[in-house]
């Protein structure tokens, strides 16, 4: 047998273009639609300025309880009739809450999208919110959070957030609250949140074959009977990184892995360093061949996978490394992780590594943006972060043109190995001694 020994050269690249964007306005709201010719499925997302950050202190999880209450019937029909009407179109409601917005999404074959949007808007704008239903949904959510928090991860995430954002009120608490804060949510909290934040028109994002969709009809469905003006933007949080590392143990007796959440604060999404920071994080912990995954998984075999990234929202950002490592190698895995962060901060990246990161990030803009859902998500980023319609073309170019100097400088500016908070969720009895090596050890109360 003869295999071809030389690696083939690439063919000619077709130019990249984000789908054409169309807009329609009605009743103070805007439909922003991306044309995907030939897609049978279409997605619509109602994007409202009603994020988790708007929840009252101590009642974190209010927006999530509201999200889960939307399908408990509307002013027009009870919950069973609502489920049958929506699911009979092949659609399911996906309400979600993040740090910047409240989203209510539906996907369906294009001819059924208008009907699904009408029902989504009916739930978002005119939910029944019967007090006994809301109280039951709240209680179910407490139970669901307890289920979730029994898995490795959520408690470590909460401990890291509490430490990084200790002085930042709502941002110090988990996005969806914790079992205690959700238990404290009252029916009135949920009704007030709905009244206060869910009735402004907002934006409807649409992705699908626009030849079969009537955008004016979708705008009418989404924005009829809405009131109020768009809200002013709040300023970003003031950024601070502590002078020395902190180590926090989240005890999980009997755990066969230690869950690592290692991070520090970082700039918000609007930072001019967004592109070089993203590329630096890709080299450090984003790609499969990243420094962290290569060393900790492929060389040492300590983990199934390790990732490092920046997460940046409108008002805040953070750098984080996340992994599950075998209990017995918790100390060595942390040591190696810190070593790679330190090296990247001090020495920056190499041209060979950056070439992988650039091409990967640029290519992902077409490879990972094929579905209506992915395109609707990309449209949402444009709206939330105030970016222009040609943003993805610009982003692609900026990725491809970023230099080693720019990316290394961003790594130096936005990594802080000595200011990290190291949260480790694992079997305390077995790993405590290892952890004390890395800084002052405290035990989390989550």
């Amino acid at each position: 047998m003869t295999l071809i020994t030389t690696r083939p050269a690439p063919g000619t690249a077709r130019p990249y273009a984000f789908p054409a964007i169309h807009r329609v306005t009605a009743h103070g709201g805007t439909v922003i639609a991306a044309h995907l010719p030939g897609q049978v499925l279409a997605t619509a997302v109602l994007l409202l300025d009603a994020s988790g950050a708007r929840e009252p202190e101590g009642r974190e999880g209010t927006a999530t309880v509201l999200a889960k209450s939307l399908e408990e019937g509307t002013k027009k029909r009870d919950s069973a009739a609502y489920a049958l009407a929506l699911e009979g179109l092949g659609a399911e409601l996906s309400p979600s809450v993040d740090w910047d917005a409240f989203r209510v999404g539906v996907s369906a074959p294009a001819p059924r999208l208008a009907g699904a949007v009408r029902l989504a808007a009916e739930a978002a704008r005119t939910p029944k919110l019967d007090p006994s239903d809301v109280a039951r949904v709240r209680d179910d959510e407490v139970t669901a959070l307890r289920m979730d928090w029994a898995q490795p991860g959520p408690r470590a995430d909460a401990a890291l957030r509490a430490d990084l954002f200790a002085a930042e009120g709502r941002y110090s608490r988990p996005l969806h609250g914790d079992p205690t804060s959700v238990a404290a949510v009252t029916v009135d909290d949920v009704l007030a949140f709905h009244q206060e934040w869910m009735l402004r028109p907002g934006v409807l994002l649409v992705a699908g074959d626009l030849d079969g969709l009537d955008l004016a009809e979708l705008a009418e469905a989404a924005f009829a009977d809405t009131t109020g003006q768009a809200l002013a933007l709040d300023a970003p949080l003031r950024l601070s990184v502590p002078a020395k590392p902190r180590v926090i143990l989240v005890d999980r007796p009997g755990s066969v892995q230690s869950t690592l959440r290692i991070g520090h604060r970082a700039p918000e999404r609007a930072t001019p360093d967004y592109v070089p920071m993203t590329l630096a994080a890709t080299v450090l912990g984003g790609a499969f061949t990243s420094r962290l995954n290569h060393l900790i998984r492929e060389v040492k075999g300590y983990t199934y996978g390790i990732r490092g990234s920046y997460a940046m929202t409108r008002r805040a950002g953070r750098f984080e490394v996340a992994a599950g490592v075998q209990t017995a190698v918790t100390g060595p895995a942390i040591l190696d992780t810190l070593g790679e962060i330190r090296r990247t901060q001090a020495e920056g990246v190499t041209e060979a590594e950056l070439e992988v990161a650039r091409s990967w990030r640029a290519g992902q803009l077409s490879v990972e943006m094929q579905t209506p859902g992915a395109i609707a998500g990309a449209l949402a980023s444009l709206v939330v972060h105030g970016l222009p319609d040609d943003y993805y073309e610009t982003l692609r170019r900026e990725y491809l043109e970023a230099t080693v100097e720019q990316v290394s400088a961003a790594a130096g500016r936005h990594l802080a190995v000595d200011g990290l908070t190291l949260v480790v969720e694992g079997d305390g009895e077995k790993i405590k001694a290892d952890l004390a090596e890395f800084g002052d050890l405290t035990e989390a109360t989550v």
Binding site: M1, T2, L3, I4, T5, R7, P8, P10, G11, A13, R14, P15, L36, P37, L41, E71, A83, L84, E87, G88, G90, E92, S107, A108, P109, R112, D140, T143, A144, R146, M147, A150, Q151, P152, V256, Q257, A287, T289, R297, E298, V299, G301, Y302, T303, Y304, G324, V325, Q326, E355, V356, S359, W360, A362, G363, Q364, S366, V367, Q370, T371, P372
Partner: protein, 443 residues
């Protein structure tokens, strides 16, 4: 096919409206191409007809561990270079192993189609010379960590591992789970893996599918160029027979007391093989029973009696093709509800599929949800390539992929009742119960 079964469900005449062209190389490699020029993206997908059902006793987990080794370099591709070349040219890649088969796939900007084919040909034709003990030892540890992360360190994480031996008898190819046992993984030797590759990684045991921004003529020529010289492997041994004489003859039950936050029940039955008319009925049945807020389980146990947690209720079939595939039904108790009450509730709803005909509304709802899920599956070139690879491997013809959606839409209420009567009897039921170690414990 495609007949109208309800006034509102739009009926598709095919679930695969894109063109499909095929060829077969002299060495037996089947090549499938589905051109779509919408986006400058192409997916290369290979289905190897080998999975954990081929593993003999003492070698559980080998097919999956082998899949990991396929990323660690081959004759002309250095260790770590495979990932670097795919991601470093903008692509996404992965591979999965299940009881039936192993698949490998990368979606790339289309100018890198030839690179993807070269990489795949090199690890098909030239893996063995690059396999080292060091690589095996490292990936064995990675896989053991995968097992810890996915199954051992997660509440209820081992349910699938426990259900399989209850569903399938000792010696049946589906009796053991794909992830394998720690003991067998520890015993894996390099020679076994070399032999495994030489036995099953053959052009005549593989389907190569390319979907997206490429023409059939171009792909056929490139397939010949890169794969054409790889030798056929004669007499590949088939997996042990998956034949079972009907549903299980007696119920099976296991109760696990573990660090879980609430009682949970899994009910499971062997049904029909994926691809059969019976399994199409089971697919619609599973949607009527447990998919969405309008399903019977949600309406009767999460709403209704309010004994089950709304976020953790559902039913689904596991799409296995070489023996009757499992239907899995699960619910988790609400606070203050005991496992016995929950099980009685679940059993009553399952029994309703036998006793209480599915209504027109229920049927329409299920078909509409399945229609959306089908179109979601084929909304990417990656989803399309994998679908065509499956239908070529398992049914001999990629065009049969277009039949599934119309077949679901043709399922009648009577078909569902018949499937329920045949497969969901208490006498063939597997019941797996998880109980918390201490009641009322919070994490």
């Amino acid at each position: 096919m495609g007949r109208v079964t309800s006034p509102t469900a739009p009926v598709a005449t095919t679930g695969y409206p894109w063109p499909i062209e095929t060829t077969r190389l002299a060495n037996g490699l089947r090549v499938v191409v589905s051109e779509d020029r919408t986006a400058p993206v192409v997916c290369v997908n290979l289905w190897y007809d080998v999975g954990s059902r081929h593993e003999p006793p003492g070698q559980t987990g080998f097919a999956h561990l082998f899949e990991h080794l396929m990323f660690e370099g081959s004759q002309h591709v250095k260790k770590t270079e495979h990932m670097k070349l795919v991601q470093g040219n903008g692509g996404s890649l992965n591979a999965t192993t299940n009881p039936d088969r192993t698949n490998y796939f990368e979606s790339m900007p289309s100018e890198h189609l030839e690179l993807a084919l070269w990489l795949e040909a090199d690890r098909l034709g030239g893996l063995v010379p690059a396999l080292t003990q060091e690589t095996l030892d490292n990936q064995r540890e990675v896989v053991k960590n995968e097992r810890r992360q996915r199954y051992d360190n997660v509440p209820y994480g081992d349910a699938w591992l426990r259900l399989l031996p209850l569903l399938y008898p000792q010696g049946h190819p589906y009796h053991h789970a794909t992830i394998g046992s720690m003991e067998d993984l520890n015993a894996a030797s390099l020679d076994t893996f070399k032999a495994f590759h030489q036995q099953y990684y053959a052009p005549n045991n593989c389907v190569l599918t390319v979907a997206g921004d490429a023409s059939p003529a171009e792909v056929f020529a490139l397939a010949e160029k890169y794969f054409g010289a790889i030798d056929t492997v004669p007499d590949i041994p088939p997996a042990p027979s998956g034949h079972l004489a009907g549903p299980a003859g007696e119920p099976a039950r296991e109760t696990v007391t573990a660090a879980v936050p609430a009682p949970r029940i899994y009910l499971s039955h062997r049904t029909y093989p994926f691809g059969s008319a019976g399994y199409d009925a089971i697919t619609v049945l599973a949607t009527v029973l447990g998919s969405g807020r309008g399903s019977r389980l949600y309406q009767r146990l999460a709403d209704g009696k309010r004994i089950a947690q709304p976020d953790y209720i559902g039913s689904y079939g596991v799409d296995l093709a070489h023996a009757p595939a499992p239907l899995i039904i699960t619910a988790t108790a609400k606070d203050g509800v005991d496992a016995g009450t929950l099980e009685a509730g679940l059993v009553e709803v399952v029994q309703s599929l036998i006793d209480e005909p599915v209504t027109e509304d229920e049927l329409n709802r299920a078909k509409a949800l399945l229609t959306t899920s089908w179109w979601r599956q084929v909304s990417t070139v990656g989803g399309r390539a994998d679908t065509l690879g499956r239908y070529t491997t398992q049914f001999g013809d990629p065009a049969t992929a277009g039949h599934r959606l119309p077949a679901w839409q043709a399922v009648t209420a009577d078909d569902i009742t018949e499937a329920a009567v045949n497969t969901l009897q208490p006498s063939s039921r597997v019941t797996l119960t998880y109980l918390p170690e201490k009641s009322g414990e919070e994490s």
